[in-house]
C-alpha cells in the first residue's frame, strides 16, 4: 500500500491530460485480497478505481475526488490451455507478455493496442481495447470467453467459460468495456488464435487521401478482409520519418499500410490483389516488406506515431472517434477545417478499415489559451463524426473525458437505461464513480451523492 504524496500523485493520473487525487494505492495479490478491498471500501463509503498500466487516454483510471486506487499489477499469472486455445490471465498481465508466452505454442492474443508493451489485460477488458488488427479479428470483447470478477459486497463470480453460449444473461460480455464501473475483473479467460503460416505487409503511397480510402473500400468490396488497413496522412508520416528514418515517402498525401495473413498461397494472391486495387486508385508506389525486419519497422512507425509527435510539440491531445467508412473522406476534410479554424496542427493516423479516426492535435499545454482551443476543437471534431452517423469512441473509452458528450449521442431514456444497469451492479456507487455516464443520467434521480469534477481536472 502506498500513501506517500509523490506516489499518490503518480497514481492520480493516466495517459490522459486529466488528473485526480488518490487517497491510497493498494496492490492486491489475490482475488480474495480484491474482495477484501471492496468490502472495506464499501464499509467506509470510499470509491475504488481499478488500474492496470494507466495507459488509458480517456481518463478512465483516475480517482476523481479521492479513493482507493487498486493496482492489478501483482495479479500477473498466465495459464495456457493449448488444446482449447485459451488462457486464464491475471488482470495485471501485460498484453504483449501474453502473446510472447503463447508464441512457443504457435498461438497469440489478437487485440494489439499501440500501447501493447505496457497496457494490461485488465485494462484491455475494461476498455474493450482494439488495435490495428481488430478489422479482421474484432476488439477485446471478441476474445474474452470468461471472467473472474469481484462485484459489490465482495461477491466473486466466475462467468462464461471455454464452452460456447453458457446459459443465462451474458454478464461477462457486459463487464467487458464497462471501464471498471461495475466491478473489478481479476482474471480473464481469453481466446488465443493460431499464428498464421505467412504474412505480407504492404506500404502504398497516394497523392490524394481519397485514393487511399477508396483502395480500402475496394479491397473489402473484393471480398477480402485484410488483417490491417491503416492510413497515415502526410504530416504524421513526416513526423514519423524524421524520427524513424525508415524511408517512408513524405511527399505524398497519405500512406496506406496493409497486412494480409494466412496460408502462403493466400497471402501471395491477396497481396497482389491489394497492389492492383491500389494502383488502380492512383497509388504511386507499392512496397512489400521483404522480411520480418522490414515488416517490424513499418509497424514500429505506425505504433510509435503518437510518440513521434513529441519532436514537434511538448503535448498532444489524441481523439478517438468512428464514422461509417463511406464517410471517411468528407469527415477528414471537416476535421482539417476545424483545426484550421482554431489555428491548430492536426496529425492523422487511423484504422481505415474500421472508420476509426485518431486526429491528434499537437500543442503546448503551458499556454492556457491553447489548452482551451484544443478542447473546443476536439469537441467539434467528435460532434462532426456523430453528425455523420459515427460514434463517440471506437476503442479508447468514455471515461471522464467524454462522459458529458454522451448526451450528444444518446437520449435521456438511453442513458437512463445505462444508469439502471450500473445501479443493478453497484447500488452504492463504489466502482469508478463519475466515469462513462454524465451526472443525472438516471431520470428522476434526485437523490444520491453529487460528484463534481474537481477544479483543474482538465489540465
Amino acid at each position: 500500500m502506498l500513501e506517500e504524496p509523490v506516489e499518490l500523485y503518480l497514481y492520480s493520473r493516466d495517459a490522459s491530460l486529466m488528473h485526480g487525487q488518490a487517497t491510497c494505492v493498494v496492490f492486491p495479490q489475490t482475488t480474495e485480497d480484491v474482495a477484501e478491498v471492496v468490502r472495506v471500501a464499501e464499509k467506509h463509503g470510499v470509491p475504488i478505481v481499478a488500474r492496470g498500466a494507466g495507459t488509458g487516454l480517456a481518463a478512465g483510471a483516475i480517482p476523481v475526488d479521492g479513493g482507493i486506487v487498486l493496482s492489478t499489477t501483482a495479479m500477473n499469472h498466465i495459464e495456457i490451455d493449448v488444446e482449447n486455445r485459451t488462457a486464464w490471465v491475471g488482470a495485471g498481465v501485460i498484453n504483449l507478455d501474453l502473446s510472447n508466452e503463447a508464441e512457443p505454442f504457435g498461438l497469440s492474443f489478437a487485440p494489439d493496442p499501440s500501447s501493447q508493451s505496457a497496457c494490461t489485460i485488465g485494462g484491455n477488458v475494461a476498455n474493450n481495447s482494439g488495435g490495428a488488427h481488430c478489422l479482421a479479428e474484432g476488439a477485446t470483447t471478441s476474445h474474452v470467453l470468461g471472467l473472474e470478477v469481484v462485484l459489490a459486497g465482495g461477491e466473486t463470480l466466475v462467468l462464461g467459460g471455454q464452452a460456447p453460449d453458457m446459459p443465462g444473461l451474458d454478464l461477462k460480455g457486459l463487464l467487458v468495456g464497462s471501464e471498471g464501473t461495475l466491478g473489478v475483473v481479476t482474471r480473464a479467460l481469453v481466446r488465443l488464435l493460431p499464428i498464421e503460416a505467412d504474412v505480407r505487409t504492404l506500404l502504398l503511397d497516394f497523392e490524394e487521401l481519397e485514393g487511399a480510402t477508396r483502395t480500402v473500400s475496394d479491397v473489402i468490396a473484393s471480398g477480402l478482409v485484410p488483417a490491417a488497413l491503416e492510413i497515415m496522412d502526410q504530416k504524421m508520416t513526416t513526423a514519423v520519418e524524421n524520427w524513424l528514418r525508415a524511408g517512408l515517402p513524405c511527399d505524398c498525401a497519405a500512406i496506406l499500410l496493409a497486412e494480409v495473413v494466412g496460408e502462403p498461397e493466400a497471402v501471395e494472391a491477396e497481396a497482389a490483389l491489394i497492389s492492383r486495387i491500389g494502383l488502380a486508385n492512383g497509388a504511386r508506389d507499392v512496397q512489400v516488406a521483404r522480411d520480418e525486419a522490414e515488416r517490424a519497422i513499418l509497424w514500429k512507425g505506425r505504433k510509435s506515431a503518437f510518440g513521434a509527435v513529441a519532436q514537434v510539440s511538448p503535448n498532444y491531445y489524441l481523439h478517438d472517434t468512428v464514422v461509417p467508412r463511406s464517410r471517411l473522406v468528407e469527415t477528414m476534410g471537416e476535421i482539417q477545417a476545424i483545426a484550421d479554424r482554431y489555428e491548430l496542427d492536426v496529425y492523422n493516423v487511423f484504422h481505415a478499415g474500421d472508420g476509426n479516426l485518431h486526429p491528434l492535435m499537437a500543442f503546448d499545454a503551458s499556454d492556457p489559451v491553447m489548452m482551451d482551443k484544443v478542447h473546443r476543437a476536439g469537441e467539434e471534431m467528435v460532434v462532426a463524426c456523430l453528425s455523420r452517423g459515427g460514434a463517440l469512441s471506437g476503442e479508447h473509452g468514455i471515461g471522464l473525458e467524454k462522459r458529458d458528450m454522451m448526451r450528444a449521442d444518446f437520449t435521456e431514456l438511453d442513458l437512463d437505461a445505462q444508469a439502471r444497469l450500473k445501479e443493478a451492479f453497484d447500488p452504492a456507487g463504489v466502482f469508478n464513480p463519475a466515469k462513462v455516464l454524465p451526472e443525472g443520467s438516471r431520470c428522476f434521480d434526485f437523490g444520491g451523492v453529487k460528484r463534481e469534477i474537481p477544479d483543474g481536472a482538465w489540465v
Binding site: 482449447n84 486455445r85 474493450n128 470483447t141 471478441s142 463470480l157 462467468l159 471455454q162 464452452a163 460456447p164 453460449d165 453458457m166 446459459p167 443465462g168 444473461l169 451474458d170 454478464l171 460480455g173 457486459l174 467487458v176 464497462s178 493460431p194 503460416a197 473489402i220 468490396a221 473484393s222 471480398g223 478482409v225 494466412g262 498461397e265 501471395e268 494472391a269 491477396e270 490483389l273 468512428v322 464514422v323 461509417p324 467508412r325 474500421d354 472508420g355 452517423g389 459515427g390 460514434a391 463517440l392 469512441s393 471506437g394 468514455i398 444518446f410 431514456l413 438511453d414 442513458l415 437505461a417 445505462q418 439502471r420 444497469l421 450500473k422 443493478a424 451492479f425 462513462v436 455516464l437
Partner: protein
C-alpha cells in the same frame, strides 16, 4: 393501428401447452410500429399480463416458455432500414426473416453470418435465442455481429444501445447483452449488424478423418454430421485450390450447408472445443448430430430423452452445458431444460428488474427460473 386476433390454445407453445386468457388462447397482437409496441408493453406491465414474443416461431419450445396472456408477433417490424455495403453494416427490423436478409446481402456479396439454414427464423428471434452460424469457429457467433440494438423495455421505454459503426465503446454493451436474453430485457425492434464480405471462391471438401482438417489452419468451418466430416473453405481462388489440395478429400464447388437435426427432442451440447469429439462419442445411441468443430457446438436430435441426464453430468463436469431446446410435454421427466443454474443469478435478476420491472416478458424462461 392495432391488429388483434385470437389465437388457438397452445399454438405458440409448440407442444409445451400454453393456456391462454379467457376465451381459449392468448391474445395475439402484431404491432406495426415501435410506438405501438411501447403502448402494448406499458399496458401489459400495468395489467400484469405475461407476454411472449414470436418472430418466425421456430424456437418457441426453447427454455421454459411462459403461460402467456399476450403474444406479440414481430413480423410487421421488418425490412432493411439502412445498408451501405461500403460500411459493412446493415440496420434491419427485428421481424425480418434471416433468409430474406441474407439473400439481399448476397446480391452484393456480403453476409451477416447468421444461421445458414434459418427456416422461418427472424433476425430478432435468432438474436434473442442466441443461435449462431455454423461458421462460428472462424467468424464467431451471433453476439459478435451486434453493433446497435433498439428495444422496448417491459414497461414500454424505447431504448437504444451501441451505434451504427463497426467499432464502438460508447457506454455499456447493451447490443451484446440482448443475445440469448429471450427478450427479458426488452423486445428487440431493430438491430445494426456487422457484415462480412464474401470472397470470390468457395469449396466444400469431404474428408475421412477429422485429424486431416488440421492441415488447414483456419478453415471457414469443419462440420461433422453423423460421422461425415466436411471442411468448408472460402477465399481467393488460389487459396481455396491450395487448401483443398492440402486436405486431400473429395472437393465440391460452393457450400451446401446442412440443417440442424430434426426430432421431437432437440438438444444443444456445448463443450470446450477440444472436447467436441469426446462429447460426440458420449451422445446416447440413436441421437442425430451436427457438430461445429473448433467451437464446441453440437446440435442434436432424438426421439426420447434416454441417456440425457448421464450426458449432462459429464458435459457439466467438463465445463459445458446440455440444453433441451425442444421437447414434447412432460418428455423431459423433470429434467430442467437448461441444467444447473448459472452463476450470478441474483445480479441477473436485478438487471432484468431494471428493464422489465413488472416481469412480464417471458418470465421463467431463462435458466434458474429467471
Amino acid at each position: 393501428m392495432l391488429r388483434l386476433r385470437r389465437g388457438e390454445a397452445g399454438d405458440t407453445g409448440r407442444g409445451l401447452g400454453m393456456t391462454g386468457a379467457a376465451g381459449g388462447g392468448p391474445e395475439r397482437i402484431a404491432p406495426s410500429s415501435v410506438e405501438e409496441l411501447a403502448t402494448i408493453l406499458k399496458a401489459a406491465t400495468e395489467e400484469q399480463r405475461v407476454v411472449n414474443v414470436v418472430g418466425g416461431g421456430t424456437r418457441q419450445g426453447y427454455g421454459s416458455p411462459p403461460h402467456a396472456a399476450l403474444v406479440v408477433e414481430m413480423n410487421s417490424l421488418a425490412g432493411i432500414e439502412e445498408w451501405d455495403p461500403d460500411d459493412l453494416t446493415v440496420t434491419v427490423g427485428a421481424g425480418t426473416p434471416v433468409a430474406e436478409l441474407e439473400s439481399a446481402l448476397a446480391a452484393r456479396a456480403q453476409t451477416a453470418v447468421l444461421p445458414e439454414v434459418p427456416g422461418a427464423s427472424t433476425v430478432g428471434g435468432v438474436i434473442s435465442a442466441g443461435v449462431s452460424s455454423l461458421r462460428r469457429a472462424r467468424l464467431l457467433g451471433t453476439r459478435e455481429r451486434m453493433l446497435e440494438v433498439r428495444l422496448v423495455t417491459g414497461d414500454g421505454r424505447v431504448v437504444r444501445g451501441g451505434g451504427r459503426v463497426v467499432k464502438n465503446v460508447s457506454g455499456y454493451d447493451l447490443p451484446r447483452l440482448v443475445v440469448g436474453a429471450f427478450g427479458s430485457l426488452g423486445v428487440i425492434t431493430s438491430v445494426c449488424l456487422k457484415l462480412w464480405p464474401k470472397p470470390p471462391a468457395s469449396a466444400t471438401v469431404a474428408i475421412d478423418d477429422i485429424e486431416a482438417a488440421k492441415r488447414v489452419k483456419r478453415p471457414l468451418a469443419v462440420l461433422e454430421r453423423n460421422g461425415v466430416v466436411e471442411v468448408f473453405l472460402w477465399g481467393t481462388p488460389e487459396e481455396v485450390v491450395a487448401s483443398s489440395g492440402r486436405l486431400g478429400g473429395e472437393v465440391a464447388e460452393g457450400h451446401r450447408w446442412p440443417a440442424d437435426p430434426e426430432g421431437s427432442f432437440r438438444w444443444s451440447v456445448r463443450v470446450p472445443p477440444a472436447l467436441t469429439t469426446p462429447a460426440i462419442d458420449r451422445l446416447p445411441g440413436g441421437w442425430d448430430y451436427l457438430a461445429v468443430h473448433g467451437a464446441g457446438d453440437i446440435r442434436a436430435a432424438s426421439g426420447n430423452a434416454d441417456g440425457a441426464e448421464e450426458l449432462r453430468m459429464w458435459v457439466e463436469a467438463s465445463g459445458g452445458a446440455l440444453v433441451a431446446m425442444e421437447a414434447p410435454v412432460g418428455g423431459l421427466n423433470g429434467l430442467d431444460p437448461w441444467g444447473s443454474p448459472p452463476p450470478g443469478l441474483e445480479i441477473q435478476r436485478r438487471l432484468i428488474a431494471q428493464f422489465d420491472p413488472g416481469r412480464v416478458l417471458n418470465p421463467g424462461r431463462l435458466p434458474g427460473g429467471l
